[in-house]
Each structure stands twice: as structure tokens, then as C-alpha cells.
């Protein structure tokens, strides 16, 4: 039989966990037994060995039993696909892998095509890079290395679209 948590791997063992106060047996794969053990054990009883990451991962309620075999459950937090679709809220970072198709659906609801990205880690880093590029651009121009200069200018434009090149904003006079 398939693992009752991830529905991906064959179940290799039975684990007992408390669900709504009742002990229940679940057939799970090795991976899920390992990941599922920590949150549920943590939710059940506080051992002296618990550290911050245990607490951060501890979930506040039992993992619901899957109603349908197809109702996948996130191994990180026990969120089921049904719940996700109903509430449109993820439970933990691992939900983004577990429910990848749903992530795509949710995100495409709001974005037509453009990629999502971020500026890592902060504006400061980017500005440092821009400054560095500007310096090497000046150097390249000074040394008549125009091909290099144009490559650097492209990189600069990509990093800093409104830096210098764009038209200044019109004032109200």
C-alpha cells in the first residue's frame, strides 16, 4: 500500500499518533515517518530535549485523516489538498513542493506571464554591484574597450533600469 501521508512512496511502517485525542495508526513511508514524527511528537508532549526548531515546527492540531486516497497531505504540516483549496492558505514552506500544481494555479491567477523574482538579499547589495559596474564601465571607456563597455552597459541597464539613462520626470513647473 501507498504511504498515507505523501501518497508517493510505499508504506513501510505503521506509526501511531494522537488525532483529536484518539490514538490512530497510519501507514507511512520512511521519509514521512521521520518528518511526521517530529511535529506530532512535539505537539503531543514536551520532552526536555526540544529545541527552538522543534517548537517552530510544532503544529497546533492533529493531522487530519485523508478522506480520499487522492487527497494529498503535506508532510511538513499535515495540510490536505482539500483544505488548501478551500482556504487558499498554505500551512508551511513544504506545502509549496507538495502542492506545486496548486501553487501554479494560485500564482497564475494573479500573474500573467512574468517571472517572480526577488532582489537578493537587499537593495544594498544591488547598489554595490551597480557602483562596481559603473566604475568598470568608466574604465573600459577610458581604455577604448568599447565591446566590453557595451556589455557592461547592458548589465548595468538590467540591474538599474532607471539609473541615469531614463528621461527625468517632468516637474509641475
Amino acid at each position: 500500500m501507498q504511504c498515507e501521508i505523501c501518497h508517493l512512496h510505499p508504506a513501510t511502517r505503521a506509526v501511531t499518533r494522537k488525532i483529536a485525542g484518539e490514538p490512530r495508526e497510519l501507514y507511512v513511508c520512511d521519509a514521512c515517518a521521520r518528518t511526521a514524527a517530529s511535529p506530532v511528537a512535539a505537539a503531543d508532549g514536551a520532552g526536555p530535549g526540544r529545541d527552538v526548531s522543534d517548537l517552530l515546527f510544532s503544529i497546533g492540531f492533529p493531522v487530519p485523516a485523508s478522506k480520499k486516497a487522492k487527497d494529498r497531505i503535506c508532510p511538513g504540516c499535515g495540510l490536505s489538498r482539500g483544505e488548501l483549496r478551500e482556504k487558499r492558505r498554505f500551512g508551511c514552506p513544504r506545502c509549496y513542493e507538495t502542492f506545486e500544481t496548486d501553487v501554479r494555479t494560485f500564482l497564475s491567477e494573479q500573474i500573467p506571464a512574468a517571472p517572480r523574482s526577488r532582489e537578493t538579499p537587499a537593495e544594498a547589495l544591488r547598489e554595490r554591484e551597480v557602483a562596481k559596474l559603473k566604475a568598470s564601465l568608466a574604465k573600459a571607456v577610458k581604455e577604448d574597450r568599447y565591446e566590453d563597455a557595451s556589455t557592461i552597459a547592458d548589465r548595468l541597464r538590467a540591474l538599474d533600469p532607471d539609473g541615469g539613462a531614463s528621461a527625468p520626470e517632468r516637474g509641475d513647473g
Partner: protein, 373 residues
């Protein structure tokens, strides 16, 4: 009365603008979650408390790098906003922020201010840490400051991030950049010149959500008799980098303000009878108020500032300041959608109290209204 109109250094966001009644606040929110943690909704209470501790420590570290202090605010969102309870947030520009609409999420959240009210930190609402800034400064400037604080914080405690999806959040709308931007606008000009609909449709096409806003205290009635000129414009498409999003939002706020100002000038040029009717109605509604809802009070107060901008009413400096304060006090409420069920019995006291607040401010303006021929 004196208490409601107390001077406040932070009220200036309203007065700074030449057209103080167009776009009167820009809000930037950034949402982050701790790496390796379940999102707040699925955490146990003690897990959430631990998360709050970790996020608070990280925030302190990030803020310290920018020479800012983090001060925890005791109490729930409701308590912090309540003026009677000496609401800590009263003198901050955080009234009416687009907070999570899920009441449970808001109820379990806790709060802190960063840099003497430059930003508001919210712990464990939908996300472990959300930072809000609200002022009439451009988005780019506000965002840069928050981003720098969070970059510092992430050295102390890394945030959940995925190479494909960006920053991760329980709310898919917060995933990616984690940025949420919004601004309040008052579109009397577009509304009166009947060009509001095309403007709202254009905003919709560009990926902005416009929500009519009203500012009821809890249990206040909704909008029925409000002219509906006041909107919250929210960025709902998060495509691109933070820089793209922030730039797009700044451009949109500017463009909408420009259109609104043009509409106002046109109305003025045409000596539009609708315009003088509107001003006369608004002044009268305030001057003779007996029972006034929050939304209505806000609308008539904004209408007076609007008329003053257009030189249809003359306001002395003190009068102007008093109206600006009135708007600030009235805006001090959460955003609710127009379909919030109304409870006509609720807040009857508030309605009378509010009306009593308006009358002495509006009555002196009556002589300025043109008599009918």
C-alpha cells in the same frame, strides 16, 4: 473634543500635499516567514510564541543596523486602535492599514513599532513577521528602508525562501516578493465628472484592486449614503522585482492623482453646477448633522478640504488644520468591504457624538455658500 483634535507631529502626512485630498497615504507592507517553521495558522500557541521571539530578535538586529529601536506594543489590534483606551496607535499613521481580513489571524497577532513609529511590525497574523510603513512618501523610499531592516534581520534569522517561488507565505498573494502596496485616494473630481468608472476599469486592467473604503468603528453602519469617492487601491499583481512593483505603484499613484486633479480643474473651469451643489450639500450635511455615520462624516470632511483646495471655500489655517485632523481621526479605522452587513442598532451613540463633532466645524462655513437666486 480637545483630546480628539490634539496636535500630532505625525498628522502631517495629510497636510503636506498641495492637493491634500487626492492621495492621502501610501502604504508598503512586506511579509516574511521564518525558515524551517510552520506558518502561524498551523502552529501551536507555544510554537507561535517561539516564532514571535525569534522574529522579534531578528527584527531588533535589523533595526539596530539602521539605528532604529523596536518597541513592543502591549495589546490586541482592537485595543491598540481604541482612542478611549489611549490607543497607542492613535498618533501613528497606521489607521486603516490593509491588515489581514481574517479576524482570527488579526486576533492572535502581536505588534511592535520600529523607529518611533516609522514602521509597524506585526507578528503571527498570516505571517511570522509583517512590516508596514505608511506615509505620503514615495513607495521607493519607504520600501528601501523596510527592505534594509529585513535584510539585517535575515542575518539573525533567515526567512523561508524558495528559488522558484521567492519568499514563502501562507497567503499565496504574499509569496514571491512578499510585497503588498496600497494607497488611499479621494476621487471627488472623477466621481462628479462621471469619469470614475473608466478610471477604475483602467486600474483593474493594470492589475490593481480598488476597494471602496469606509471607516466604521466596530459595528458602525456601512456605506449606504456615502458618495463613494474614497478608495483603497491595492497592488495585487506581484510580477517582477520589488523595484518594478514599487516603481509601477508610484507611477500609478501619480497618474491617478494627475487625472483627479485634471477632473477637478475641469469642473472648476466649467463652473459645474454639480460641483457647487456637492459642496453646498456637504457643508450643510455637516452643519446640520444629527446622526452621522463614519463614512459619511469622512466624506463631508474631505469634501470641505477638497472645496478649499479648489478655492470654493475659504478656510483659515486653524480651520484647515481642524478639518485635516478630523479626517485623520475619522480615517482611524479598518478597511471593510462594501458588502459588510450593516447593523443599524450598533453605534447609535457614536453617530450622535460624531454629529456633534461635525456641527461646530461646519456651521461657520454656511455663510460662504452662495444663496439661491
Amino acid at each position: 473634543m480637545a483630546r480628539l483634535f490634539s496636535r500630532s507631529g505625525r498628522g502631517d502626512w495629510l497636510r503636506d500635499l498641495p492637493f491634500s485630498t487626492v492621495a492621502f497615504r501610501r502604504c508598503v507592507a512586506i511579509h516574511r516567514n521564518l525558515d524551517g517553521a510552520v506558518f502561524p495558522e498551523r502552529q501551536s500557541p507555544e510554537g507561535r510564541e517561539t516564532a514571535r521571539g525569534v522574529a522579534l530578535r531578528a527584527l531588533r538586529a535589523g533595526a539596530a543596523e539602521r539605528r532604529m529601536k523596536v518597541e513592543e506594543l502591549p495589546g490586541t489590534w482592537e485595543e491598540l486602535r481604541r482612542p478611549e483606551a489611549g490607543g497607542v496607535l492613535r498618533d501613528n499613521p497606521f489607521e486603516g492599514l490593509p491588515m489581514p481580513r481574517d479576524p482570527e489571524a488579526l486576533a492572535r497577532a502581536s505588534f511592535a513599532t520600529v523607529g518611533k513609529g516609522a514602521a509597524l511590525a506585526v507578528f503571527n497574523a498570516e505571517d511570522h513577521l509583517s512590516l508596514y510603513a505608511a506615509s505620503n512618501a514615495p513607495y521607493a523610499a519607504q520600501w528601501r528602508e523596510l527592505d534594509a531592516v529585513l535584510a539585517g534581520a535575515s542575518h539573525e534569522a533567515p526567512f523561508a525562501h524558495d528559488t522558484a517561488w521567492g519568499y514563502l507565505s501562507a497567503n499565496p498573494d504574499h509569496a514571491g516578493t512578499g510585497l503588498a502596496l496600497s494607497f488611499d485616494v479621494c476621487l471627488f473630481g472623477l466621481c462628479l465628472s462621471r469619469t470614475l468608472d473608466p478610471a477604475l476599469r483602467a486600474l483593474d486592467r493594470l492589475g490593481f484592486e480598488t476597494v471602496p473604503t469606509f471607516g466604521p468603528f466596530a459595528g458602525d453602519e456601512s456605506s449606504i449614503d456615502a458618495p463613494g469617492c474614497r478608495y483603497l487601491v491595492q497592488s495585487i499583481r506581484n510580477a517582477g522585482t520589488e523595484r518594478d512593483i514599487v516603481g509601477r505603484m508610484d507611477a500609478t499613484a501619480r497618474e491617478l492623482s494627475r487625472q483627479e486633479q485634471n477632473a477637478r480643474f475641469k469642473l472648476l473651469d466649467a463652473a459645474s453646477p454639480e460641483l457647487s451643489d456637492f459642496v453646498a450639500r456637504s457643508v450643510s450635511a455637516g452643519a446640520f448633522a444629527r446622526q452621522t455615520g463614519q463614512a459619511e462624516a469622512l466624506d463631508v470632511a474631505l469634501a470641505v478640504l477638497f472645496a478649499a483646495d479648489l478655492r470654493l471655500l475659504r478656510l483659515g489655517a486653524r480651520q484647515r488644520a481642524a478639518f485635516a485632523d478630523l479626517v485623520r481621526v475619522l480615517s482611524y479605522a479598518e478597511t471593510v468591504s462594501a458588502d459588510k452587513p450593516a447593523d443599524p442598532a450598533a453605534g447609535a451613540d457614536d453617530r450622535a457624538r460624531r454629529a456633534a463633532l461635525l456641527r461646530p466645524l461646519f456651521a461657520p462655513l454656511l455663510p460662504q455658500l452662495d444663496p439661491l437666486p
